[in-house]
């Protein structure tokens, strides 16, 4: 599933429509970069709700490990299946393929919803997804999955969740499945780490070690998650206390972060 590591010659990069050939690593770096303007800076991956809910700052490394082996794997599995759907259903010359793609993506999204019991968490994911959708519709305009996402994902109708959008972008941009899974794990941990430095400042060289630990904790699941092709197979691990904090946070009026 690894995208070819082809060197890009600028003279042969098409100027319209077809995306240029890029390596998975480049796409992963761009999507993992906190500077990517998709509104991610207003999120803390549940950290602000957790601290407000009484979790000790000393428990943050454990919090990150816990997420990396539960809810983050649900996100990663969802993204992997969405990527598979976005690639598999993107057959040309099939009448009604956009509608079929939209239905298939909607099924993946419902599987994610069923595994994400907190409405607050779902709402936040869908709002963050809109930033990604904006990006996708600008960069990968012609990709069938991006077009299909517009059929099911235009407000005020429910917006697709963030992992589904990430899967669509992975398919459109040429990000391989294992890199996609690792991206989801890394991004969640790094979001916590960056928010930590705003909420409970400490030596900034410390949280990056927690990020690597969280990524390591999820590594044993990466290959299996990347191989998922069916929404039914997406894992259903949960983090009920974290979801409770998210629900409480969504009702407060004193927030630095959306979630």
């Amino acid at each position: 599933m690894t995208a070819p590591m082809t060197a890009v010659s600028l003279s042969v990069v098409p100027t319209t429509m077809a995306p240029p050939v890029l390596s998975s690593a480049t796409i992963a770096m761009m999507l993992a970069d906190a500077r990517l303007p998709v509104g991610g800076h207003v999120h803390s991956a549940g950290l602000e709700p957790a601290l407000a809910g009484g979790m000790s700052p000393a428990q943050v490394p454990g919090y990150m490990l816990g997420r990396a082996r539960t809810v983050t794997l649900v996100e990663a599995g969802t993204a992997a299946v969405a990527r598979h759907v976005a690639l598999h259903e993107a057959e040309p010359d099939v009448f009604g393929s956009a509608q079929r793609m939209a239905l298939a993506l909607g099924r993946v999204d419902r599987a994610w919803s069923a595994r994400t019991p907190s409405r607050a968490v779902r709402d936040v994911s869908r709002s963050l997804a809109r930033g990604y959708q904006r990006l996708a519709r600008t960069l990968w305009t012609q990709h069938p999955a991006v077009i299909a996402s517009g059929l099911v994902s235009t407000p005020p109708s429910p917006t697709l969740s963030r992992p589904v959008l990430l899967g669509i972008i992975a398919a459109a941009a040429g990000l391989d499945a294992e890199s996609l899974v690792r991206l989801v794990v890394y991004d969640d941990a790094q979001t916590v780490a960056a928010a930590m430095l705003k909420l409970e400042p400490l030596d900034p060289a410390t949280p990056p070690g927690w990020v690597l630990a969280a990524c390591a904790a999820a590594e044993e699941f990466v290959v299996d998650l990347a191989a998922l092709t069916s929404a039914d197979a997406i894992p259903a691990w949960g983090a009920p206390e974290s979801e409770g904090w998210a629900e409480a946070h969504s009702r407060t009026t004193q927030r630095l972060f959306r979630a």
Binding site: P37, G39, V42, G131, L256, R258
Partner: protein
Amino acid sequence: MLENPTPPITAPARSLRIGVAGPVGTGKSSLIATVCRALASELRLGVITNDIYTDEDARFLRSAGVLEPERIRAVETGACPHTAIRDDITVNLLAVEDLERDFNPLDVVLIESGGDNLTATFSPALVDAQIFVLDVAGGGDVARKGGPGIARADLLVVNKTDLAPYVGVDVPTMVADAEMAREGRQVLALSRTDPASVDILADWVRGLLALHRAGTHTPQDPGPMAPHFHADEEGGPGVMHTHDEPEHSHYEQSAHSHP
């Protein structure tokens, strides 16, 4: 090629988007309330607030009773109010689009920045025009300090002029300083208790809306760093410069103060 011409696109009504920026406590929320009070009967208005702590400003505006509460929405900024209006405007853009969709058509959407320092300005990709707000209580010399908002916002407001006698500030002098910093761009000495000044503010909005509707208004970027003045140590004329002169060195300057 198709024989028939492209059908006209009936885009949803795009409001005039006005940003309101300026240091904390200078009266941005109050100014927005004043605009709403003056214009709500003739224009369809909406408001987005960007508070440091979520919805403080939105609640103030709702309690002011100048607009239906549903037309006033708050976004989180992840402790980065300058990012949310400048380099990653995603959450604000989505909020404006939602407001325009839910109350279509809207004439004007006012976007209040979180109170930030003198360097925070709006991206022209988010707003069509911006008001920068200072107040007399912040000190009569603030206007002289310059900065992109003071120098190049579409309108500079010197607010709370009714307080001038109590804080020892001469309003005409402060306005003259501001006009010099702005090279003739408009400065408005405003007090919500001074109906004549409120009329000028309302007329400024009406005039801008007319230009926007006529399609003759082009958003201007105040820039991240305005040209500013270096006092000469020897009492000479000093030097005006911008920071995109690569050959310029600061080390030789004596009285250099960045906003």
